[in-house]
Symmetry: D3
Subunit: 318 residues, 6 copies
Amino acid sequence: MYKNLKLISGSVHRELAKSISEKMNIPLTPIRLKKFRDGEIYIKIEESMRGEDVFIIQPTCTPVNDSLMELLIIIDAVRRASAGRINAVIPYFGYARQDRKASSREPITSKLIANILTTAGVNRVVTVDLHADQIQGFFDIPMDHFQGYIMFYDYFKNKNIKNLVAVSPDAGAVKKTRRFAKALNIPLVIIDKRRPEHNEAEILNVIGDVKGKNAIIIDDIIDTGGTIVNAASVLKLKGAKEVYICATHGVLSDGAAEKLKKSVAKEIILTDTIPIPEKKRFRKLKIISIAPLMAEIINRIHHNESLGQLFDLDGCVI
Amino acid sequence: MYKNLKLISGSVHRELAKSISEKMNIPLTPIRLKKFRDGEIYIKIEESMRGEDVFIIQPTCTPVNDSLMELLIIIDAVRRASAGRINAVIPYFGYARQDRKASSREPITSKLIANILTTAGVNRVVTVDLHADQIQGFFDIPMDHFQGYIMFYDYFKNKNIKNLVAVSPDAGAVKKTRRFAKALNIPLVIIDKRRPEHNEAEILNVIGDVKGKNAIIIDDIIDTGGTIVNAASVLKLKGAKEVYICATHGVLSDGAAEKLKKSVAKEIILTDTIPIPEKKRFRKLKIISIAPLMAEIINRIHHNESLGQLFDLDGCVI
Amino acid sequence: MYKNLKLISGSVHRELAKSISEKMNIPLTPIRLKKFRDGEIYIKIEESMRGEDVFIIQPTCTPVNDSLMELLIIIDAVRRASAGRINAVIPYFGYARQDRKASSREPITSKLIANILTTAGVNRVVTVDLHADQIQGFFDIPMDHFQGYIMFYDYFKNKNIKNLVAVSPDAGAVKKTRRFAKALNIPLVIIDKRRPEHNEAEILNVIGDVKGKNAIIIDDIIDTGGTIVNAASVLKLKGAKEVYICATHGVLSDGAAEKLKKSVAKEIILTDTIPIPEKKRFRKLKIISIAPLMAEIINRIHHNESLGQLFDLDGCVI
Amino acid sequence: MYKNLKLISGSVHRELAKSISEKMNIPLTPIRLKKFRDGEIYIKIEESMRGEDVFIIQPTCTPVNDSLMELLIIIDAVRRASAGRINAVIPYFGYARQDRKASSREPITSKLIANILTTAGVNRVVTVDLHADQIQGFFDIPMDHFQGYIMFYDYFKNKNIKNLVAVSPDAGAVKKTRRFAKALNIPLVIIDKRRPEHNEAEILNVIGDVKGKNAIIIDDIIDTGGTIVNAASVLKLKGAKEVYICATHGVLSDGAAEKLKKSVAKEIILTDTIPIPEKKRFRKLKIISIAPLMAEIINRIHHNESLGQLFDLDGCVI
Amino acid sequence: MYKNLKLISGSVHRELAKSISEKMNIPLTPIRLKKFRDGEIYIKIEESMRGEDVFIIQPTCTPVNDSLMELLIIIDAVRRASAGRINAVIPYFGYARQDRKASSREPITSKLIANILTTAGVNRVVTVDLHADQIQGFFDIPMDHFQGYIMFYDYFKNKNIKNLVAVSPDAGAVKKTRRFAKALNIPLVIIDKRRPEHNEAEILNVIGDVKGKNAIIIDDIIDTGGTIVNAASVLKLKGAKEVYICATHGVLSDGAAEKLKKSVAKEIILTDTIPIPEKKRFRKLKIISIAPLMAEIINRIHHNESLGQLFDLDGCVI
Amino acid sequence: MYKNLKLISGSVHRELAKSISEKMNIPLTPIRLKKFRDGEIYIKIEESMRGEDVFIIQPTCTPVNDSLMELLIIIDAVRRASAGRINAVIPYFGYARQDRKASSREPITSKLIANILTTAGVNRVVTVDLHADQIQGFFDIPMDHFQGYIMFYDYFKNKNIKNLVAVSPDAGAVKKTRRFAKALNIPLVIIDKRRPEHNEAEILNVIGDVKGKNAIIIDDIIDTGGTIVNAASVLKLKGAKEVYICATHGVLSDGAAEKLKKSVAKEIILTDTIPIPEKKRFRKLKIISIAPLMAEIINRIHHNESLGQLFDLDGCVI
């Protein structure tokens, strides 16, 4: 069925790679991955790459610089080994939030990453729920990308809860939240964090009505969890019945899991674009796996089949 | 004062170029600009370009493809004529709204434009209020960019109207509106356009409170004017006292000027990033010129002086 | 017969694209082509492009900048949609006459076009009768190109007229005319336009003998038609029997059709590399279609068959 | 007067480099140039290049591959030594005649040369009388180029001979000859070499009238000399009074000098873009040096002064 | 004295940067350097970079991937801030040992690093004692590089010890050791590590005579220290009087300092290309600072003065 | 068996190309190769290249600049003729010894060659025994490379001589010699050429023991032969029994063959990476052909089969 398709996993998320490998019924290509004592990464691919259609699975999550360099080095090895086509499957694209200059003399690190991936020799990037859709345009190679909200759409469709509202936890997530709200045909609410006077504390203004509603907060990333947990609290305060928190990428920096666990939210729903270790898991955390969808996407890319037809929702894969 | 600085105007907005030229006290470099009968553009720069720091002023507005090609051809001529540095001053960056794939098999035309400008040989781009900040990252050359809202900030600061709210006419403009709202320290309101059921007409939901408030709608572009004029009406309906419409770029496609003139808005405030012909002007339209600011920016770029120190507001030039 | 070949037509010359499509028995790929009110072009390809060998048919004729930008945007969309190979079929290559700096500080717009086509992502260009053969070298991607005179060769071979001479209407067309003259083994005549003294009118010197001969004027482009119609008149004056005018590309700017119609020429023979609208057609205008030849060329490119063997005449496809 | 200008001569034409150096009153930068026993070239620049405006003088004439490689290697050394700007002064651009595909599966070697010069790191090319003007467009870096005929224009202006005609020795040189004819305001004559029937010998048709005229044959290159010497003979046969032969580049392959010496031409006028050894010189050969003009051009490039103003004739430097 | 020179230190080796800054009497440019909770690096340059000649000091040592990414991000910020020239001063070039494919399907990570530094926008690299000289050729931008042995040459010249031999601890270091041996005019000895039979332990063969000699082992890097400490022991065993260990780069991975301290060597001499923390220092460890030399090199680069004249020894800076 | 594989031979080593062609049972593609009188090379490929996997066989040996330019021009022609993949088989890579800057203001000509080959359009390089392994990293395209010593390994394995030592004739060849020594499990000896005092003659120090041993000197290149012939003599002087000289590339500049013939060596063993004309051959010279191995390598590259499995010895093909 697959004549010359190779799946390679970096060291970051072998669990996801294995799930994909199992769904596709293709073994992971053996690869020697070593860190020298001084921290330098050594790579050796253990099978011929000549003419192969190679998919390298590696989210560039924490430790982000190591993850990224490992990915680049694998790409270099695969390219020099005469691969036919090199596809980087990067479920979580690190540094995506540094996608513009917000003040003078800042870098645009996302673009830097896009450029160095291209320089290293990648021919295609497959990724999930970029912080801004415009990051697609940071690449000139083909990019296959799907919005994270489609993972949550099915989940809530099946749950069949009444009186839902979709809540954007800040101005930045409005577009993403609106897509989800539109798909479920539910109202949109926005939280605007603002410092009323120069020396006062920030307060959260809830723009829109949540009284007696079941609120679903939608974001792409949960990092320290502060913003989103506060958002949940303020929604409750404003009379929301239940609060659900959804985010595609569970970065979950130090203390985030604890905060979420203790939050007023009824459920926290993440995907597995980033590995979530056992110690960060808790009862009300649900993890939806992207592996079945990713396996199908890789399958279609390899066979030159359309991805656009893969989803019911308009425009979810682009 | 300026040893080797040259200002060149394309054919699109000579009025703005002249204003800048007068502010800087530098004549525009003469240039022969001709359209052949078959529509091909011919260019000849009439003064030596050797080693000069050249600023080419051309918004890529309607007729967008002609404006853009003319700019590219001027760049090619200037480059081959051994210019020292080529700066494209593009107050309005056409095709900026095509900045991502919204569905399968669409182009990302903004990125295409960025790439071909770079290929043509430009060394720097100066622009105003990009549709998305991320477009900065479409370039790898230095880009000087300022947010449009700073033009309106001073205007309303001086007007000293009470009870203001800033209104984003749709989900896409929330970030821009929020910056303005934050600068003036006024509340944020959002309009969410949605079709309640498949076959019903779209309705505008006003998220947030406008009753008895003076509403300022903020957007980057007014094109056909439909969305923003309807937004003004619905705000009035929801009890707003006065409605002001602000937009950086007055594209004003057919009929837009008429719609704005007839709208419920008390004032429409635009800048002159795009030429606004006499016939599209009307009594309640105010046009704030960017020429003084642009002249100062060109001056600082040429003398390697910081732009970051140019504004009171944080992060307005990046 | 064609496993993964796609034909796409831009908006410029659907008639030619349809003829090619019919000859090849392959439907044109549906594509959404829209111009927004402000003149920006929007494109969406309506069928999967993954791994396809795509041929985009678009002469870059009047309105040249729109035609070119549309082509670039289609290429961008096709590339981002993971096409296998992108071939631009550009029967008429606009701006080809701006192929060198004739005086200081001019652009070389043909090279600029070549560069931006390559930047956009095209892998091959197929074109007809470039203004100068050297434009081939403006590209580093493969280019398939055939001389226009072979279209006229067959025409006159069949007509079997006696006493023919081939006439170059100016110094620039001598090489092209000479190829035609050599193929038919007929004498060469050249017209040299010169202003005898600074303030006098230009006169046409006929270099070579046309008395009693049937003259065929050969050029690549008829634009305003002035030069070539005057050439026909002067030939008659010098005693030519009949005058035929041949040109590959019928640009036919304003008034050209009228001029040609009224000219002393017995026949005007063009090809359909550029669409010639009904209102520009007249009785003594013959249009030879390139569609059969282009269909065969596309067929051979797709199947990796030699083009060199396609023609009887030496060196006509290169 | 020259703060940071360096002149470097390759091994090919030190005589010209020395003349330029003397005119400019700048010593040639010492450079170690060595050929190893196996033919590999070794280079070492003997003075600091840091930040310098470096002009490397090297025509890429016979032995063309050695001349070119030496130039490339000097450029590489200069670039790695942190030069400020690298200008290649290539009075004769070898391989210029291979500027297009004349039949299938030929290279376009001129473009290859342009590409590898750019890759090696050159920032500007200065050259004389390219075989086709379009070769300018093979480069995207600035190129300063002047037509060869201006050297002959002054020569014949001063000679003040009556009844002149300018003769193009074949169809390829018509454009060059026409410029010269136009500048002197004299008639144009063209020679068309053709084989009347397949098995017959080629004959030369003189198109235009030379009877009793003094004919000046104009070409860019004299290589084997065959064509041009035959052209001179046929002109005499057709009644020309005196025949002068002018060519910018005296390639003078084996036997050419002898042929020219014995020819019917009264004078042969060349420039020194290529070194002409003593043994190839003869009484009726005149050599006009480009050194004064080249020195002035280098001077102006270095000081960012216009070259366009250097000449009386329109468009002679482009 | 320095008009537009800026020194920036990354977070890796501020001590060296400060020493250089003091020697040059130029303050370090303030820079905000932050690691987010998830490990992403954030950078903001706190002073204008426009037109500046910027030197960024950052060895890419442990943690190598963080050091490198930080350097790349600083470069990106500096480039987008319109710096005039960007010089990366990388005293220790991480991943230098991965400079070739030693077996199939390995990467060449050093080249990858060179490529991505160039992509990020660096204009020059300054570095010390590359593992292989050929790494210079991995870059096409100018590179200033000096051999580490010159640091030890002065040291031993002054010590004035008799009966010295220079020892290469393995086949890879022979060239470096030979340069040192030649400079001091002392004999060369080589240690060849080999496994006599397949299952036996590796043994060290000392090729050359060390009996009664004072041996100086020369290497570029001490990483785990195993090889070099064993080399010292075997030299003692073979009758060496005193053993000195010299290495340019003190990587000193876990346990290396301890091993060196306990070794038979009389002295271990390193430079400070890599920061050596207090806890890894011990009595018989000498550290020679490169700061004075580096300050002078930066000074000369900035002023376009020759580096070749900086050293007594031939070829030590290239 | 080979569907779309083409073998092309340049003019340099048709004998090797023919051997490979015979082993593979594929005819060489006819190609017109001409040198014009002035030394310019003309090429025309005589068969269609469309979509073909093309292997061009050309060592870039003496006359090195001609060999290289011819190769580049063939590549250009093949690329413009729409080849599918272009593989340059360069058994001897000229200029490989110029792989680093040994002193200021030298070029790195090997890198220049790598860059211009890539610019010309080559997709892969196949080569043998590069002077330094790091040259692999000068390319970013895939490179297949094998060490020369494996050719000699089999030879000596079969000869079964006792008491062997492997001798590196200078410090530069130690790594290569060590690989051979390790493969045969024999001791390593090194010769260090040094000038004892400034004005004295160079002397050769033999480091290691050769008394009564059969010595095999290993190097990659024999150019003038001086070093290696002197090495043989000194080994004899130090008591070696027999001396064998092995080198992969027989450059054999003027006089080298004579020197080798007269040397004390019992046998000189070369490969045929470079053509060795009859007049340079002598009785004790053995030439081992690389044709069988190269044929197998081309076969495997074409069929996307692993090269790593081709050899018994570790790491011999990389």
